[in-house]
Amino acid sequence: MARASVHIAALIAASCAFACHVGAEELLPYNITGDGIAESLTGAPGDAARGRALVLARTTTCILCHSGPFPETRFQGDLAPDLSGAGNRWTVSQLRLRLVDAARFNPETIMPSYYRTDRLARVGRNFAGKPILSAAEIEDIVAFLATLRD
């Protein structure tokens, strides 16, 4: 009995450690190969339908600058390339790195690095230490963009 409760305590401690890790939004490690990230950030494939909804949500900021094949909204931007055909122009691996850290390719780009928390100035209190998108959100958006073929 005593041994069992020790095990349970250890289990709770372990899950707390894991949960705290996630709570701090620590970035998952990834490997850059060539001009992309070949493996999923989460280890699982993204969901393209969820990705479409995310691209259209203003909070992800995508369509503030980009336009795309989204007839249901006229509130689209034209500061950045149209997303139509993104799946032809880029591989999944390239799309993933461009979302994670576009500045890696062009330090002057206005596209934010969606999965980076360092080298930033005066980040708002509510956003400090957090990436713009979670790893799972990036995977969903990558899965959706890969379906955008002309």
């Binding site: 006229r74 931007g77 980040v123």
Partner: protein
């Protein structure tokens, strides 16, 4: 080809020595008015439909109202604002000798209140401060902006320019990325302006009220998910000063109407 490019680059440098890469040349500077649709323009142009004029009228009443322990009104020292305040707002923020730094029109009004009227300062964005500020700035409607010309302001203009060029926030964007490099394009369907502060305080339809340039700057900072500076912070004053100096020569529009 490269020869002519060098010549034109040299000519540009010679005619606009103060211009940094990416900055808008004087003859290409445009008020936010020129980016608006006809309905919003009409609302600004007609004083009977411009909601900012209600604040101007309130400010006119406050101008002659005695207040503070000194029991003095603005008019007791400054007389008729139509003469004494004409062109003043086009020179603000202005250098204050006692403080050895620039002060905004709002801060000048509050300095007058505490030093001469012995009254408590009005809170930022309060109706009375916006009304007084709108009334004073309205006397400069049509006057060309000359703020920042005072040589004592030079380091503060430069501080403001540095802040304008510096990327910040979770989205890692600087003012210049949109307002120098991408004006006329559309952000979520709405045109991006050059950010020329010609009509403050102005009536913003999104706010449903009059607001200051500092309020506008703070909402841009929040937009890029940066920690906005507090009202009256030296950084906001420097940014306001740089923006006004950047709008050099454009006519004042107070009270402007913007979407």
């Amino acid at each position: 080809m490269s020869f002519w490019r060098a010549i034109s680059a040299a000519a540009l440098l010679a005619t606009a020595p103060a211009l940094l890469a990416g900055e808008i040349p004087p003859d290409a500077r445009r008020s936010g008015y020129s980016f608006m649709g006809p309905d919003t323009r009409a609302m600004q142009d007609d004083d009977t439909s411009n909601p900012g004029m209600l604040f101007v009228l309130d400010g006119e009443a406050l101008w002659t109202k005695k207040t503070g322990n000194a029991d003095k009104a603005c008019a007791d020292c400054h007389g008729d604002a139509r003469g004494s305040m004409k062109g003043v707002a086009a020179r603000y923020p202005a250098f204050d000798k006692a403080l050895a730094r620039p002060v905004t029109l709002d801060q000048r009004i509050n300095l007058c209140r505490s030093n001469h009227q012995q009254a408590t300062p009005l809170p930022y964005e309060s109706r009375d401060l916006l009304a007084l500020s709108a009334f004073v700035a309205h006397q400069s409607r049509g006057t060309a902006i000359t703020a920042g010309d005072d040589p004592q302001l030079k380091p503060f203009v430069e501080q403001g320019r540095d802040l304008f060029m510096q990327r910040e926030g979770q989205l890692n964007l600087a003012c210049t990325n949109c307002h120098d490099d991408n004006f006329n394009k559309r952000l979520a369907g709405a045109p991006i302006t050059q950010g020329q502060p010609t009509g403050y305080p102005l009536y913003r339809l999104e706010w449903q009220t009059l607001g200051s340039l500092e309020r506008r700057l703070r909402s841009c900072m929040t937009g890029v998910r940066a920690q906005a500076y507090d009202f009256g912070a030296p950084e906001l004053v420097a940014l306001e000063l740089y923006l006004m100096s950047r709008a050099h020569g454009l006519p004042m529009e107070t009270p402007a109407v913007r979407p």
